[in-house]
């Protein structure tokens, strides 16, 4: 199978704190990979390195065969210009824990913003596509509302539609349900569940163990900046190989 994302030897420190220690991971095209682990284990940082929101200290990342954030310069890697990094980011979507919708724009404008500004898509075309995506996340009636008038679950569904509007082959989810009231988690997971069937590649940092088990193709357990265990979700959840994984999962029983 074709590799969509390849992380190799990824290291990252914030000051003396080593957040990522030699992370190596392959994600195949169309795969849904769920990343679980205790807070502070480096899950989000790893995800943010993939679209270069964080710069790794060492190691490389390729997405769809393209080296992210850097180009080869002899034996070294030189960071790309911000314009070229922007072009790389345009090809992958990201959904944030705190939604990060643009509060000064309506729901429709939020979705249309990047396709029009970045992709130079004609406004009518972008709006028609945005309405299609709003139907997908079941929010057509909120098209002209401002984000402040939406519930958390609705905001996150808009954020997913916004990421999809750029027609990415890869979407990164950074704890998409962690900021939601418990009764709103389901509607967001439902959208992600549907999305998983479309063949898009997804990397999902999450605390939703049942989502990881039911929807994920691969489960990654991280602790202290390292990947402790990787495998088929059911196998890892029901019969973890490492004590650290067992200890973490026991809290969800």
């Amino acid at each position: 199978m074709q590799t969509m994302v390849r992380l190799s030897g990824l290291c990252k420190s914030f000051g003396p704190h080593r957040v990522l220690r030699d992370i190596t991971l392959d994600v195949a095209a169309g795969e849904v990979v769920c990343v679980i682990g205790p807070s502070g284990s480096g899950k989000s940082t790893m995800l943010r390195c993939i679209n270069h929101l964080e710069k790794p200290d060492s190691g490389t990342i390729t997405v769809d065969g393209e080296l992210i954030g850097y180009e080869r310069e002899g034996d070294n890697l030189r960071e790309l210009s911000s314009k070229r990094i922007a072009a790389q980011r345009a090809k992958m979507g990201m959904v944030f824990q705190r939604f990060n919708l643009f509060p000064h724009l309506t729901v429709l404008q939020n979705i249309v913003e990047a396709p029009v500004a970045v992709r130079k898509m004609p406004k009518q075309v972008a709006e028609a596509e945005a309405m299609r995506l709003l139907k997908l996340v079941d929010l057509t009636e909120k098209a002209s509302a401002y984000p402040s008038a939406l519930s958390g679950g609705q905001m996150q569904r808009v954020a997913i539609a916004r990421a999809l509007a750029m027609q990415p082959r890869l979407v990164l989810f950074d704890e998409p349900t962690s900021a939601l009231d418990p009764e709103l988690v389901g509607e967001v997971l439902e959208v992600m569940r549907e999305l998983a069937t479309t063949g898009i590649t997804m990397i999902v940092v999450t605390h939703e163990i049942s989502f990881a088990r039911d929807i994920g193709d691969k489960l990654v357990f991280m602790a202290e900046g390292q990947i402790v265990e990787t495998g088929e979700p059911k196998a890892v959840i029901e019969d973890p190989k490492h004590a650290r994984t067992r200890e973490f999962l026991s809290r969800f029983r």
Partner: protein
């Protein structure tokens, strides 16, 4: 019993002291107004004669032009300085800091007189290459008229304040907004123009309205270098007819009129840039 069947009305507490002090303030205010209105030295008829005088109106127009022009220049320079001040490049950062330090630190009046006397420092300004016989310079006194000196002094001074206001506005926008824009592939320029600045406006507009009014009044300092605005016009008149008080009243009336209009404009702008933010337009009120 009848008493039980009627629910008691809930009445606010009485404030005898508060009511009494309000009456005293009202009485003092009335006395002041009566004294001003009846004081013959106020010469209200002279005020009426000059309020719409052509000289005064000409000065008023100049005041407004000067304020709007200088504010526009100050906002542009302020945005540039604010972005420079947030740059990781130490040269850009220190130049921006140095500018704010200097132009905010030297009194406006000193700056105005300085610009007006620039010829004492550089008699001619421009490009000269003596060996080639090129001389594209002009006399500083021809270039820096009192109007140009006024614009330079006011705009450059104001820009230092605007830089800080814009910087506060930019810092006030949640970093998640920048990350969301970046993740969608927006360039730094697009991010600033389409995402960050429009949101920063909500924080920038109120203090900018304040600065606008403050700048409007500060234009009166330009009378020092015969800038030709409202205060200069008023001075010109009363230096001939010695009706100082009524003419100062004429000036005050116009400054208050323009200030009032500016306040209205500020309220309108605040509503506009507050769109989508619950503080300005409550979504719960819109839901209905």
């Amino acid at each position: 019993m009848a008493l039980q069947s009627v629910a008691p009305k809930l009445l606010p507490p009485r404030h005898p002291l508060r009511t009494a002090s309000a009456c005293v303030v009202l009485a003092l205010l009335a006395a002041l107004v009566a004294s001003l209105a009846s004081n013959p030295n106020m010469q209200w008829s002279v005020v009426a004669d000059y309020l719409f005088g052509s000289q005064i109106l000409y000065g008023l127009v100049n005041t407004i032009v000067l304020t709007v022009l200088c504010m526009a220049i100050a906002i542009v320079i302020g945005i540039v300085l604010a972005i420079m001040g947030m740059s990781r490049n130490p040269v850009l950062y220190f130049v921006a800091q140095g500018y704010i330090w200097f132009f905010r630190g030297v009194p406006l009046l000193v700056q105005l007189v300085f610009w007006f006397n620039l010829a004492l420092l550089w008699p001619r300004i421009g490009l000269t290459v003596p060996p080639l016989g090129i001389d594209l310079s002009v006399s500083t006194n021809d270039l820096i008229t009192s109007f140009v000196a006024s614009v330079l002094g006011l705009a450059l001074h104001e820009a230092a304040y605007m830089a800080e206001i814009v910087r506060a506005g930019l810092l006030g926008v949640d970093s998640g907004q920048t990350e969301a824009g970046r993740s969608l592939g927006m360039s730094d320029n697009q991010l600033m123009r389409r995402i960050v600045l429009p949101q920063a406006m909500r924080i920038i507009v109120p203090p900018t309205g304040n600065q606008f009014i403050s700048l409007l009044k500060a234009t009166s300092l330009v009378a020092f270098i015969a800038g030709g605005e409202l205060m200069t016009a008023v001075q010109n008149v009363y230096s001939h007819n010695f009706r100082v008080i009524p003419l100062l009243i004429v000036a005050s009336i116009w400054y208050l009129v323009v200030t009032t209009l500016a306040t209205g404009l500020q309220t309108y702008l605040e509503r506009r840039v507050g769109k989508g933010f619950s503080t300005a337009a409550s979504p719960s009120a819109q839901r209905g």
